[in-house]
């Protein structure tokens, strides 16, 4: 007595699907490349190389321009400035001395008081 194998779910369909895939493989064999395949490929490579070259040239130009601008800024900053504001260029002591020389009595007095109190605390 022959015993029938229980069929896996979708077993028949699965086997058919495998056959369909095998048929598809046969229906689409490896195609022969056309005569223009290699020349076309080299044309595309050259076109890509050309655009990469342009991009490199552009990047190099940009770097040169940036370096030039940096140099100009450096030169500008290193030039001796004209008579700028004393507030930014002089030291604190120079400003105090200048004020004292101008003779503002209130300020002078205040400085003197500070000096005296400083000596008393010592």
């Amino acid at each position: 007595m022959s015993r029938q194998e229980p069929e896996a779910p979708g077993g028949k369909l699965a086997a058919e699907l495998s056959q369909v895939f095998a048929g598809y493989r046969e229906a689409l064999p490896d195609p022969e490349p056309s005569a223009d395949f290699m020349p076309g490929l080299w044309r595309r490579i050259e076109a890509r190389q050309g655009s990469a070259r342009d991009l490199r040239r552009l990047a190099r130009g940009f770097v040169t321009a940036a370096a030039l601008v940096s140099l100009l800024i450096g030169i500008f900053l290193s030039l001796p400035q004209g008579r700028g504001s004393a507030f930014y260029t002089n030291t604190y002591l120079e400003i105090v001395a200048a004020d004292e020389a101008q003779g503002d009595p209130d300020d002078v007095e205040m400085v003197r008081i500070e000096r005296i109190s400083y000596e008393i605390t010592r």
Binding site: G10, L13, P33
Partner: protein, 199 residues
């Protein structure tokens, strides 16, 4: 391997003649794979050139010549994936889009036996294309490489750099989805689609 490592090494170092030889050794096989991956014979060469173009500009990143074939397949998969994504955005090509002249020519050719075989093949291509259309582009490519190209799980592992179990799960799900679509076609036609085509 269809070429020796020395040739690949020379191509990697910028030897254009060596690169040309590598392309000639692999182009037919790669074009065949692309044809089955994208299912559009008219665009196969264009995608094939794109693969070798990418190869030319990325060959210096190849660490060992032994990895050349999985590398080339990965480039093929990526180019086919890009193509399929672009195609999905375009309106689909249908029989109704044929010009009147093309329809008349098709009718006239119908009598010959060779043409009937060709017609069966075209219908099979359209059917498989429709079945694989139920999948995402990535799953379509993966299933095609396994079921139609006949690549082993080990080879797929090298191409995708993914572990075998993850690939098995993904393949199982993709196959189940295609099987369901195939069952739907069979139910709609009252018999298996394969039988409908006289296969």
């Amino acid at each position: 391997m269809q070429v020796d490592f020395e040739l690949i090494r020379r191509a990697r170092e910028g030897d254009e003649a060596a690169f040309g030889q590598v392309v000639q050794a692999y182009r037919k096989r790669i074009l065949g794979t692309i044809a089955r991956l994208i299912g559009r014979p008219e665009d196969v060469e264009d995608v094939g050139q794109e693969v070798f173009l990418r190869l030319y500009f990325s060959l210096d990143q190849l660490r060992t010549p032994e990895m050349f074939e999985p590398w080339l397949y990965r480039l093929t998969v990526n180019a086919a994936y890009d193509y399929l994504r672009r195609q999905r955005r375009r309106p689909e090509w249908r029989m109704a889009d044929l010009t009147e002249q093309q329809v008349l020519m098709a009718e006239a050719d119908r009598s010959s036996r060779r043409e009937r075989v060709e017609q069966d093949r075209r219908r099979l291509r359209e059917m498989v294309d429709a079945l694989l259309g139920a999948l995402s582009e990535q799953d379509r490519i993966l299933l095609t490489l396994k079921e139609i190209e006949g690549l082993s799980l080990k080879e797929l592992e090298k191409i995708y750099r993914v572990n075998e179990n993850a690939l098995k799960v993904r393949l199982f799900r993709a196959r189940q989805r295609v099987l369901k679509a195939y069952g739907g076609l069979a139910a709609a036609g009252g018999q298996a689609p394969r039988e409908q085509m006289g296969g």
